[in-house]
């Protein structure tokens, strides 16, 4: 798919708008901003244990159900206990850590290539996660082959498996990892279950996305 300005009206509009903006910015009164600020935010060093503790603390505030498992086998058991008997919408088996794909074999599972209607039947989404961000209790998920976006979005429950080593302090550190990469993948930062307070400020979970977020942290 090649990107380009579409219609001729839009092309004319482009020239007009850019010319107007150029004219305007010559005489624009943009206020001066505070001097002496650092170029970028600095991140004080943290330890893995501190990051994990902070992440769990934030999860608690957000209402995220979290399990910390000491072994790979324990992770598989935990996940199996969470999903057994349910219809699952999963990342491809080879995209899940700890051999979880094998561990849940035999359950009713849909994948990204199934129809949206089928995917819509799933009760549980099962995914991995690129990184977790401790200071906000956030899961940073990228999508790609075998890692559909729908799995973390459509089912009412989302089960995420992350490695303790993938817990970062915050979003700034996470973005630093992309500074040299030529293009960004699709990214979503997930922080707690889907929520709304639109009706008289009363908090309701799971209005569009998952109402239950369960995180299993493995070694």
């Amino acid at each position: 798919m090649s990107g380009e300005a579409s219609s001729s009206t839009s092309r004319d509009a482009r020239l007009t708008i850019l010319a107007r903006v150029r004219q305007a910015q010559i005489r624009a009164h943009i206020p001066e901003t505070k001097a002496g600020l650092p170029e970028r935010l600095a991140y004080p060093p943290t330890t893995p244990a501190a990051r994990r503790a902070r992440l769990l603390e934030e999860f608690k505030i957000l209402g995220v159900e979290a399990y910390v498992e000491e072994s790979e086998e324990a992770v598989r058991l935990r996940v199996r206990s969470l999903v057994t008997g349910k219809t699952i919408l999963s990342w491809d088996a080879d995209r899940l850590p700890y051999g979880i794909g094998e561990a849940v074999r035999g359950e009713k599972i849909y994948y990204g290539h199934d129809s949206k209607e089928d995917q819509g039947q799933a009760e549980i989404g099962l995914t991995g996660c690129q990184n977790a961000l401790a200071e906000t209790g956030t899961l940073a998920m990228t999508s790609g082959q075998g890692r559909p976006r729908s799995a973390s979005l459509m089912p009412i429950t989302h089960v995420v498996v992350i490695r303790e080593a993938d817990i970062l302090q915050g979003m700034g550190e996470f973005f630093d990892g992309f500074r040299k990469s030529p293009e960004l993948p699709y990214l979503v930062f997930i922080t707690g279950p889907s929520r709304t307070a639109d009706i008289e400020l009363s908090l309701t979970l799971g209005v569009h996305g998952p109402g239950y977020l369960i995180v299993v942290i493995g070694p």
Binding site: G3, Q25, L153, L187, T191, V207, H208, P210
Partner: protein, 484 residues
């Protein structure tokens, strides 16, 4: 359209609205303070975010070109619209060319501004709002009244009635049940939609990324399920890079709802890639001017740094009293009082910048420290230059400059005014003032000027005092004062 002051009177009579506004603004306001207090270096982060926003405005044209180039590189089709009509026309064209008939939308101020839904329906394209609040607004046939909480003005009972009447579901006023009904109804719409329409919270210049935040997840569904995704965004909604985006995200959620970060923050960098199972196949960005370039060239250019968090609404005592609808257009509250006359022109909107006591609460809470009172003053000045001023006010201020720069004339005028006023007020208080000043005595008595001015008292004291006596008494040691 009705006059601003009439809309204000209507709003002020609405007790239900007042209660809702009090609860919501107080809750959001206190959560905001607590949340920012827990952010380390929050003042510096706000300063840095302001620097990023102001900095990019200095070469907005160059930044737009870079942003466009990077979008195109990512496989996005880029369109430009001078005004709302043009943006809607482009969107209809895109939909027709792609054969789209059913659109789902996530909350977007830009498309509210262009009245997109009207033009889509006219072109036979179904469109459904999917943010819970916006969905109910659409069902009820009204407009949102708060940037973050669109139906802050509706009770749960009224929402239940709207859903019962419009989509034929059993009546309930339980927020959880209402939300569940919406989830089911809207999920069907998501699955059948072929066009997703969103705004953009930010456009990251150097990666060509569209950033969307939402708490419900509807923005994710809108951009994941339909095969075509169209973004309509104002040309000012940029941030230079991901490090700056980090700053914005840190302050946006905290300022808006008091969350450390909104539940979902999506970074969409082009349509779905080879091998991906979902995401749109075709992605378009419509860059909307609609008066923004004019704003940039004038004294309120600073408002283009607004990140639409809504914190100024919750802090504003005027908004708390009158709610969002009284502002008469897409953007309510202090930000609306600047953006609306900025986008639409001061003619017809000059009441908005006037409707502020200049208390500065908005400036205090603005995450990017926009000097909103200064901009209100600029717009008032502009209105005086451009628009007609009510005769009574013109008379009231006419000659103020001439008189008040001539001490003798000024004092004589003030004393004469005082004598006249005291005639109206034998007990020192005036109960009813004529003309425009009658606004005061609507709810307040007016204290009449004192029989002797301060300067008279001062001169009398000087005359009574023997020359050469030092005026200053030494500070007395603490001694008991009379008991009150």
């Amino acid at each position: 359209m009705s006059h601003f002051l009439d809309r204000v009177e209507t709003a002020l009579k609405d007790e239900e609205l007042k209660g809702a506004l009090d609860r919501a603004t107080e809750r959001l306001g206190s959560r905001r303070s607590a949340s920012l207090a827990s952010l380390e270096n929050s003042d510096m982060i706000r300063d840095m975010a302001r620097r990023a926003k102001m900095g990019l405005l200095k070469d907005l044209a160059g930044n737009l070109e870079t942003f466009e180039k990077n979008l195109i590189k990512n496989g996005v089709k880029v369109h430009w619209a001078e005004d709302g009509k043009a943006a809607n026309g482009l969107l209809v064209d895109i939909a027709k060319k792609a054969g789209c008939k059913r659109a789902v939308k996530s909350k977007s101020m830009a498309t509210e501004e262009t009245h997109l839904n009207h033009d889509l329906l006219e072109a036979d394209i179904d469109v459904l709002e999917t943010d819970l609040g916006e969905y109910i607004v659409q069902l009820a046939g009204t407009t949102p009244s708060h940037i973050i909480l669109p139906i802050i003005h509706m009770t749960k009972e009224r929402i239940g009635e709207v859903m019962h009447n419009k989509i034929k579901v059993p009546y309930t006023s339980d927020p959880e049940k209402l939300a569940k009904i919406a989830r089911v109804k809207l999920r069907e719409a998501f699955l059948s939609a072929d066009l997703g329409i969103t705004g953009a919270n930010f456009g990251v210049i150097d990666s060509g990324t569209i950033v969307l935040v939402s708490n419900e997840g509807n923005a994710r569904l809108v951009t994941t399920l339909p095969r075509v995704h169209v973004v309509v965004m104002g040309i000012e909604k940029l941030v230079p890079n991901l490090a700056d985006l980090d700053l914005m995200i840190k302050i946006l959620g905290r300022s808006a709802t008091g969350q450390k970060i909104t539940t979902y923050t999506s970074l969409i960098t082009g349509p779905r890639r080879a091998g991906e199972a979902d995401g749109c196949e075709e992605m378009h960005v419509i860059l909307l001017d609609n008066g923004r370039s004019r704003i940039l060239g004038g004294p309120i250019a600073e408002i283009l740094g607004c990140i639409r968090c809504g914190a100024c609404l919750n802090a504003c005592p005027v908004y708390k009293n009158i709610g969002g609808h009284a502002y008469g257009d897409t953007y309510p509250g202090p930000v609306g009082a600047i953006v609306t006359p900025g986008l639409r022109g001061i003619k017809g909107w000059k009441e908005l910048p006037d409707a502020s006591s200049l208390c500065g609460a908005c400036r205090e809470v603005c995450p990017v420290r926009l000097d909103i009172p200064r901009m209100l003053l600029e717009l008032r000045k502009h209105a005086v230059e451009e628009a007609k001023i009510p005769f009574s006010l013109r008379m009231g201020l006419w000659g103020f400059g001439e008189v008040a720069s001539r001490p003798w004339l000024y004092k004589t005028g003030a004393r004469l005014g005082g004598i006249f006023a005291r005639l109206l007020a034998p007990d020192g208080w005036i109960k009813k003032l004529p003309g425009l000043a009658g606004g005061w005595t609507r709810s307040r008595d007016m204290k009449a000027p004192a029989p002797k001015s301060f300067q008279q008292l001062w001169r009398e004291r000087a005359a009574a005092r023997p020359a050469g006596k030092p005026p200053a008494a030494p500070t007395p040691a603490r001694e008991p004062a009379h008991v009150r």
